[in-house]
């Protein structure tokens, strides 16, 4: 059986100014990563990204992105991620850095990791809360973190819902 295997890179975009994070757009990341790979790996790298490359998920509130590429050359993409210094969005340049959290074979495994990672982050945020109201909110978010039930339409593997949680 021959099947095109892909790798999903779960990455986090770090910016100094959280408000500029809300402008995060799929297209900006798509082009930024493509240009970075073209710079680091030349024409060969740019050609590798023609096949099965895409940005599957962007969460503007938390800065989590999910990038998909072929299994045979996901390392080229991974090695080019640290060289991205800014994202351009409608003429505005946002200084950022991208770090990879997890590499998975399917979207589902990445989602499972993200849920675990998010609960860890919430636990870490609890001691930093400034007042009781925030603390209650964080506790509530931790308790409600869970994977939603799978949808009936099974062939739509790209449709994933991650339980949105509010931060700070």
């Amino acid at each position: 059986m021959v099947r095109f295997k892909s790798r999903y890179l779960l990455c986090e975009v770090c910016v100094e100014d959280r408000s500029s994070l809300l402008l995060l757009e799929e297209r900006a990341i798509y082009h930024a990563v493509k240009n970075a790979v073209a710079r680091s790996h030349g024409d060969y790298g740019a050609a590798l990204l023609i096949l099965s490359y895409g940005v599957k998920y962007v969460n503007a509130h938390t800065g989590i992105i999910l990038i998909r590429c072929r299994k045979s050359h996901y390392r080229n993409l991974w090695s080019a991620l640290p060289f991205i210094s800014c994202l351009e969005n409608r003429g505005q340049k946002v200084q950022c850095s991208i770090s990879c959290l997890h590499v998975g074979g399917t979207i589902r495994t990445c989602q499972k990791f993200l849920v675990k990672y998010s609960t860890q982050q919430l636990h870490r945020m609890l001691p930093h809360c400034r007042n009781e109201a925030e603390r209650d909110e964080v506790r509530r978010a931790v308790l409600s973190c869970s994977l939603e039930k799978e949808r009936d339409v099974e062939e739509e593997e790209d449709e994933v819902e991650d339980d949105e949680w509010e931060d700070e």
Binding site: V37, A38, R39, S40, H41, G42, D43, Y44, G45, S79
Partner: protein, 135 residues
Amino acid sequence: MEEPAAFERLVYKNASIFHYMKICLVLENGRRNIEAAQFKQLIISGLRQLYGEVGAAFPFDLLKFDPGTLTGMLRVYNSGLVKLWSALTLIGSYQNELCAVRVTQVSPFLLALSGNSRELELDQASFTGEKPLLT
């Protein structure tokens, strides 16, 4: 009784960690004065175009270069041979002038590059009707 002589055979799969290439630069408008450093810069720019910054950083050495005939000898690690060779193939221009890089010989051993049966010039005297050496 004498013991039979032991027979030992050694087989090396990767005898050399380097590969040596003998190449020649061919320019459209004839020969020019090109220094060794400029030649190496041309190869690095070819690598950068095809394989990016990572490819251009791969170490290789220009062991010999003859500015008159524009022939040179490169040495590269085994893992970078395919990349270097493909980058050399795709070098198209040098300072806005069409050019091509011809690869004459490739070998894992430097000694093999000293002789080339393609450029061997046979002695003319051996073709005339002279007496053979062994009688």
